[in-house]
Symmetry: C2
């Protein structure tokens, strides 16, 4: 997770705007079905949920923990210690940011139809 743009193979984040990099981080965090599943589960259970997430997914506990960490780092979920377990829920600012990107595109397309392809 370095992204230092030193040599080959690493994403050249330096050459893009902060906004582009932020959106990419958010999108990337959702670029795995397990992490989509986690978001859907957090939504389904209505409130924040403590524990249970591991049992909902077809992956081992360390793997799920890692996915949760990535979603948290990207700002899509947040978690707080709740006694024995950890309580996770969706982090709205992160979600609104990427949602806004798609709405922006969609609104633009609506105004100016591009039917040449």
């Amino acid at each position: 997770m370095q992204y230092k743009d030193k040599t080959m193979g690493a994403t050249k984040t330096d050459h893009f705007t902060d906004n582009q990099n932020q959106l990419a981080v958010l999108a990337k965090a959702l670029g795995h079905p397990a992490r989509i599943a986690i978001m859907e589960y957090l939504l389904k259970v209505d409130t924040c949920i403590c524990g249970d997430i591991v049992n909902e997914l077809p992956l081992s506990q360390p793997t799920v923990s890692q996915h949760l960490k990535e979603l948290k780092n990207a700002g899509l979920i947040k978690g707080s210690i709740e006694g024995n377990s950890i309580c996770y829920c969706i982090n709205e600012p992160g979600l609104e940011k990427i949602k806004g990107f798609f709405e922006h595109i969609s609104n633009h397309l609506e105004k100016k139809r591009n039917d040449c392809c």
Copy 2:
């Protein structure tokens, strides 16, 4: 780009729903600042654009070509041969699909506030 769930290191797509996998593919395609930049450029130029995309990005021609291919495979852009060059523009169905995911989450959150974290 196999995703066969054979051994270690490969994403276990088999264990998730088609919908979850499709959303993950769309999100993953936007999980790189260059591909965000391409989408923004296609939006900015208003209509479909032939050529020029390579010159807009701080990456080599083969690298840009590869990014365009990924966006196309994910269904976020479409391209048609236009004489000497290729005419690219945003593919609305792909965009609407992922946009819908975020709206779905956002709508749900609005109804049921989760303020426990």
